[in-house]
């Protein structure tokens, strides 16, 4: 019964949102009525609350083990702790789509109610938001209904959550990512409303600035958490795979980053306004594209959900419709928007626009990488796959140029050209120091790879520039933008850590019997396999090995495990990790061989923690920017 009520509430939200749209369409043909907006707002707010209550009831259904609901029956189990019963809701397509819509609704209701009662764009924004929510609710109910019952009788026990997903990170990684993705519905709707409205004297930047910044923070945390999860918990052995789904998350992130930068430029010096609007539309369009790629199953990926062409076509059609709607209005208004003001060469905003171009180039390259296999397949029927070498080759030169512009723009001024002398002063010291450090790194490691050294150099350039700027700030009281500095240091650190990781890390496959010990190399002097035991846990068996290592003259104990789960028979590997500041010792246990020995995979990963630390710095920088008194 509760399932039906929950279903009914979602359906009612569809009706209310349709009413908002129909009603406004009807009125706009006639004369404006003073109560039009008030009534629309009420309907919209009620629709949003219906979605929230419906989802709340659905959570209750999951907790109370209602296995007559098909989705819950195939993704939950009565033996699960309540925590995983709740998270199992977004462990597959239908439920995660529901969560996506709940977040979409939450952002929308918060934003629209934060606008002044007589804000000139309120009505049009409301209509755009209603349209988007309505489209996705219909998608949920028509093609991926999470409320569907198993009739006439439900099953007694659920099929259980996938053990890989039985992990606390499932509780935060998808929600964070979704909050980021859908948060940009605000800039999308508001900018579209602004363009429709046609009053270009209106200032729109400040109304959506902080909303976009917060969405960016969620998106950044979501992506970083996904990478952290893959490495620490899922035992994939790496942090980034250039998997199509990672790529479709990176594209809106890059667009959002470019958007924030040009938002600063356009508010500081009144340039790039048109470009900023375009980016604001692009971010959400790319989020929608991501949803389409993941949920249509058009590309095989680590994350893809079940393949269903009907869903793909609906999503493609609807995302295409609203993106085209926004872009057509943009194209229509373009002549009126063109500001005569030009960017001053050598000013801060000129370097900023250069990096904007670089970010859009990156987006385009990723887009090409994602779609290229499909294009080739549809032309020649041949299957190709695009992997890390493509992206590494494309990105190395891009980040080098970006780093150079970031370095210069640290000391550049808004709206004023930079003198050649100032340019020389800014560039010399960081460049020389970076070259020197690179030489030292090369001497110390004796490894060389052009792409990796480009990355190291780029990272160091940024780090040293900000170091000098900070010194200048402390001793000469020169102004420093703290938020920007912290975020960019994070970026420099990211380039540095990723590149160092790629040249220093290595993997060894070992083969030992219990009681045996061997020497691996100069750094891992001794690897002893002390013992192996089989343990019983509540829903799985555990094979646990005890290993002691003499690693760089320190003794380390590691405990890699294998688990076999009862309900699905699935075997998962629990890697043992010992972390120090510079490197991680990452050990996975393999199978037992016929002669009684076991196989192990030992990975030494350098600078890996720095990658997530740098993401944390970027988020911190953004937070500093948001909480600064006056930004725009």
């Amino acid at each position: 019964m509760i399932g039906e009520i929950s279903h009914f509430l979602s359906l009612s939200a569809v009706v209310l949102l349709s009413l908002v749209l129909i009603f406004n369409l009807f009125f706009s043909l006639n004369k404006f009525h003073p109560n039009q907006l008030i009534l629309s707002m009420r309907l919209f707010n009620q629709a949003c609350w219906l979605v929230f209550i419906s989802f709340g009831m659905y959570v209750y259904l999951a907790i109370s083990d209602d296995f007559s609901i098909a989705y819950i029956a195939s993704h939950s189990n009565s033996q699960l702790p309540i925590f995983y019963k709740v998270t199992s809701i977004w462990s597959a397509h239908e439920g995660s789509m529901f969560l996506w819509i709940v977040f979409l609704t939450a952002w929308s209701i918060l934003f629209i109610n934060s606008l002044d009662k007589d804000h000139p764009l309120k009505k049009l924004t409301l209509l755009m938001l209603s349209l988007v929510i309505l489209g996705f609710l219909l998608f949920l109910l028509l093609t991926s209904n999470p409320f569907e019952r198993i009739l006439p009788f439900g099953v007694i026990e659920g099929a259980d959550i996938n053990p890989v997903l039985q992990d606390p990170a499932l509780a935060i990684h998808p929600p964070m990512l979704y909050l980021g993705y859908v948060g940009f519905v605000i800039s999308f709707s508001f900018i579209t409303a602004y363009l429709l409205n046609g009053d270009f004297e209106l200032l729109w930047e400040k109304d959506i600035k902080n909303w976009s910044f917060v969405a960016w923070i969620f998106l950044t945390i979501g992506i970083a958490l996904g990478s952290w999860w893959a490495y620490y918990e899922l035992g994939w052995g790496g942090y980034w795979f250039w998997d199509p789904v990672e790529n479709v998350a990176l594209m809106p992130w890059l667009a959002a980053t470019a958007f924030m930068h040009s938002l600063f430029a356009s508010s500081k010096s009144n340039v790039l306004k048109t470009w900023t609007m375009f980016l604001g539309i692009l971010i959400f369009a790319l989020s929608l594209f991501g949803a389409f790629i993941v949920r249509s199953g058009i590309i095989d990926s680590v994350h893809s959900f079940a393949n269903d062409p009907k869903r793909g076509l609906y999503l493609l059609g609807f995302s295409g419709l609203i993106t085209l709607l926004a872009l057509s209005i943009f194209a229509y208004r373009l002549p009126a928007l063109n500001s005569s003001k030009l960017v001053v060469t050598g000013s801060k905003e000129s370097f900023l626009s250069m990096n904007n171009i670089l970010m859009v180039t990156s987006i385009f390259s990723i887009f090409l990488g994602v779609t290229y296999p499909l294009i080739i397949e549809s032309i020649s029927g041949e299957k190709v796959s695009i992997g890390p070498p493509y992206y590494n080759t494309i990105f190395s030169p891009l980040i080098l140029i970006a780093a150079v512009f970031i370095m210069i723009s640290v000391d550049a001024l808004w709206q004023r050209s930079m003198s050649l002398r100032a340019l020389f002063v800014t560039v010399t010291a960081p460049t020389l120091l970076s070259l020197l450090s690179m030489y030292l790194i090369w001497r110390a490691t004796a490894v060389f790879s052009i792409l990796a050294y480009i990355g190291i150099f780029s990272g160091l350039l940024i780090l040293f520039s900000y170091l000098f700027r900070t010194i200048n700030n402390v001793f000469n009281k020169k102004y420093i933008n703290k938020g920007s500095a912290v975020a960019h240091v994070g970026l420099g650190l990211l380039f540095f850590a990723v590149s160092m990781n790629s040249i220093l890390s290595y993997e060894k496959n070992l083969n030992l019997a219990p009681g045996q010990s061997i020497s691996v190399n100069e750094s891992v002097q001794e690897f002893s396999f002390d013992d192996i035991r089989v343990l019983k846990a509540s829903n799985h068996d555990v094979i646990s090995a005890e290993i002691s290592l003499m690693h760089d003259d320190r003794e380390i104990f590691l405990n890699p495990q294998k688990r076999q789960y009862a309900t699905r028979g699935q075997i998962t590997s629990e890697s043992a990790i010992h972390a120090s500041v510079l490197k991680d010792t990452y050990l996975t246990i393999g199978d037992k061989l016929e002669n009684g020995s076991w196989t192990f995979s030992l990975k030494i990963n350098y600078f890996i923690k720095w990658i997530w630390f740098s993401a944390a710095l970027m988020v911190l920088g953004m937070l500093l920017t948001i909480f600064k008194k006056k930004v725009l």
Binding site: V164, L313, G317, F330, D591
Partner: protein
């Protein structure tokens, strides 16, 4: 210039849209096309431990799964294959364009659901079989290839495509 820009802003997304719609629709056709049964091609391959594979070992009802250690999607379908093998479905691996050391390490790390894996580093058998990439799965009944699935094998594909074929074969025998 401006006119061209306005035109492009609208036309480019439309082209992208048409392209994806086309890909989706073509994929749908392939998925529902009837598969014509054919004989399993002749081959001379070793398994991953270096022993030659006998053609007789493919008799009966067998699932042939194309996999490789470099294939991420293979990792995704791996638990499901393990589940199938636990339910007494006989699965034979076709290790595709891989090296035996990496393939063996992969099996050691993730578990081995296969009776054995044929080692096809150059993709010879895969070519004769019509493999387009990894993962792919073929259903063999008495040395006849009766079904084919491209991409990840999962519960729904298993139940809608292969299981009916197996049931049909069991009924007629």
């Amino acid at each position: 210039m401006n006119q061209l820009l306005r035109f492009l802003i609208v036309i480019l997304p439309i082209l992208i849209l048409i392209f994806f719609a086309k890909v989706l629709l073509v994929e749908e056709e392939i998925n529902f096309a009837n598969f014509e049964a054919k004989n399993f091609p002749e081959f001379q391959l070793n398994d991953l431990s270096g022993n030659p594979v006998e053609a007789e070992s493919l008799n009966g009802i067998k699932l042939v799964n194309v996999w490789a250690s470099w294939c991420i999607t293979c990792l995704i379908e791996h638990p499901f294959l393990t589940k199938l093998s636990n339910n007494d479905i006989e699965i034979i691996g076709l290790n595709y364009k891989d090296t035996d050391s990496k393939a063996n390490a992969w099996l050691e790390k993730h578990g081995n659901p296969y009776l054995f894996s044929m080692y096809d580093p150059r993709g010879d058998l895969a070519f004769d079989l019509g493999v387009t990439g990894a993962p792919e799965s073929y259903l063999l009944i008495n040395n006849q290839v009766v079904g084919h699935i491209q991409g990840e094998m999962n519960q729904s594909k298993w139940e809608t495509i292969f299981l009916p074929l197996i049931q049909k074969a069991k009924r007629s025998s």
